[in-house]
Amino acid sequence: MPVMTFLEAIRQGIWEEMERDPSVFLLGEDIGAYGGAFKVSAGMLEKFGEDRVIDTPISESAIVGAAVGAALAGMRPVAEMQFMDFITCGFDQIVNVAAKIHYRWGPAVPMVVRGPSGAGVHGGPYHSQSNEMWFVHTPGLKVVVPATAYDAKGLIKSSIRDDNPVIFFEHKLLYRRIKEDVPEEDYVVPLGKARIAREGTDIAVITYGAMVWTALEAAEALAKEGISLEVVDLRTLLPYDEQAVLESVRKCNKVILLHEDTRTGGMAGELAALIASQAFEDLDGPIVRVTSPDTPVPFSPPLEEFFLPNAQKVAEAARKLAAY
């Protein structure tokens, strides 16, 4: 198995799907000759031609809308947002057009909107956002956030094969930092299934995306102190794996909900509601949130570091909770 970056895994997943299925095509800004701002589509224009790797004007509504139309007509478009921050410019197309079509009048809308998201690279307020929650709160979409290279490839392939609009968040911090053995052959990771990233017994840390690595780092540190964290990587946020969450909580009886996204209205709230209603009796301590505070993502490194959750903050919360 070759060692591959997170980015290369996504690229390979898309590549394979394009080889496998002629109805898969790409559209987005600067994805052709340039290969995309992060080079996720590098080489694809040369390989698949201008019809299947379409450079668009700076028109996110058109990108998403054209993807919807093409999907209705039987294609499987994969639309790139140059940064997931810009998804707000095609927001209405996603939440009101794409998401509601199947429920309203029946057809499948097999499409993917994907792109780089997340902070930690000093991108400032407009190149660092974690915008997944707006879409988790939109019935009809699926929302996927891989944490590992293996999952990234398997999940992008599942997303492309899925018959629904999938919003696929790729944490840009992981693009080149994560390197793993990734099978070169075809495999998929199913949507809607979480993964136990680390088994543990004392506190369940439910998280996703880049924060999975943060949780693992914290777990490693705390293991030395005799506190055992279980790390649950949700992988898909909509629909999310309620069973996996509840099982982990029932096992550990304490839970930390961790995300990079800002706090109020974030995924941790949703998980807290699930847990506090379905696993209330299993809880031996308060549900703890570790998240970014409610501000835009600041630019300067010390500010951004202050803003972002990290292993220390998780460990601190875990120590307190363990002592509860």
């Binding site: 095509f25 019809d51 299947r52 379409i54 668009t56 004007p57 028109s59 996110e60 509504s61 058109a62 998403v64 809308g65 054209a66 993807a67 919807v68 139309g69 093409a70 999907a71 209705l72 007509a73 039987g74 294609m75 478009p77 209405d92 197309q93 009101n96 057009v97 998401a99 509601k100 079509i101 199947h102 429920y103 309203r104 009048w105 029946g106 057809p107 499948a108 809308v109 097999p110 019935p139 009809g140 699926k142 018959d163 629904n164």
Partner: protein, 321 residues
């Protein structure tokens, strides 16, 4: 007016014009009887555009009608009952009561359902056209845009995208003078929507939207150009919204005189006059068509009224395919 349409085709056009009008009238009746759920948005006075454009297409083409394009739906094979059922929110309607009015479609028939948010449909139809190009299928996609909808950002993005990609997209701009209570002077500082097309590099013509043969011919010609790979085409149809925005709206903001003038240009009466004066339709033929319409409307109205409301659990349909 001059045409190469056969006598049967001309009668077809007349039939659909009248059918469109009759469906709108029946919906208004239902509305007044309190049987409609929500509002009724009529295409009265604009039937020549819906019918003329749709009739000019090939079966494999796609249309993306808006709320007033009942005529488009009828030409594509939907029946009056589909509209009645949908407007009355009944179980047997095309969406089983999940959505309202013309918000239905069927990919198999090449009909894409609109959404309320104006302008978005241009992009969706551009995507349909893009798929056609990618698959080397010679189909065109038709999008309808009002003078109001033309102000939306998505409309701009879709038209520009289609122009750059040279997509077989037909943009039917229905300039009916009003967007709800807003006259076109408050919507835009130019007279013609057609100049917008040109600003994207999209050939644009202006036609009298109340002249069905002109609309038909312009659409045939534009669709042919699009099919030949000459990119998107725009047709601005000048017309007038003859009722309020919806039945609840008395449209007191519309000058009475304007309405009176436009009444004389009624697209159906005009076409009828043309057909009879050119002896293309006899009084008997006309009566036969009307009788057929009477029967269709009656039967479908009855059918729709008899249709039950959907069972509550119908709401629990999955949001995912």
């Amino acid at each position: 007016m001059a045409t190469t349409l056969t006598r049967r085709q001309l009668h077809d056009l007349y039939y659909f014009l009248r059918l469109n009008r009759r469906v709108d009238e029946q919906l208004t009746n239902f509305y007044r009887q309190g049987k409609v759920v929500g509002g009724v948005y009529s295409g009265t006075g604009q039937e020549a555009i819906s019918v003329g454009t749709a009739y000019a297409l090939e079966p494999e083409d796609f249309v993306g009608p808006m709320i007033r394009n009942v005529g488009t739906l009828l030409v594509r094979g939907y029946k009056p009952r589909d509209l009645f059922l949908q407007y009355m929110a009944r179980k047997d309607g095309p969406t089983g009561g999940r959505d309202a009015n013309t918000h239905f479609g069927d990919v198999g028939r090449g009909v894409i359902a609109p959404i309320s948010m104006l302008g978005e449909g241009v992009n969706v139809m551009a995507g349909i056209a893009l798929a056609a190009r990618l698959r080397k299928e010679k189909r065109v996609a038709v999008t309808y845009v009002g003078d109001g909808a033309m102000s939306t950002g998505p409309c701009h993005e879709g038209m520009n995208f289609a122009a750059v990609q040279k997509l077989p997209l037909l943009i039917i701009a229905e300039n009916n003078g009003w967007a709800y209570s807003t006259p076109t002077e408050k919507q835009m500082a130019v007279r013609d929507l057609a100049v917008r097309g040109k600003a994207y590099g999209i050939p644009a013509v202006i036609v009298d939207g109340n002249d069905i043969l002109k609309v038909y011919q312009a659409t045939r010609a534009a669709a042919a150009r699009a099919r030949q790979g000459r990119g998107p085409q725009m047709i601005e149809c000048k017309t007038m919204r003859m009722k309020g925005h919806a039945e609840h709206d008395a449209a007191n903001y519309v000058p009475k005189k304007t309405l009176e003038e436009w009444k004389k240009k009624d697209p159906i009466l005009r076409f009828e006059k043309y057909l009879t004066s050119k002896r293309l339709m006899t009084a008997k033929e006309k009566a036969q068509i009307e009788a057929r319409l009477d029967e269709e409307i009656r039967a479908d109205a009855e059918f729709a009224e008899a249709s039950p409301f959907p069972p509550p659990e119908g709401a629990a349909r999955s949001v995912w395919a």
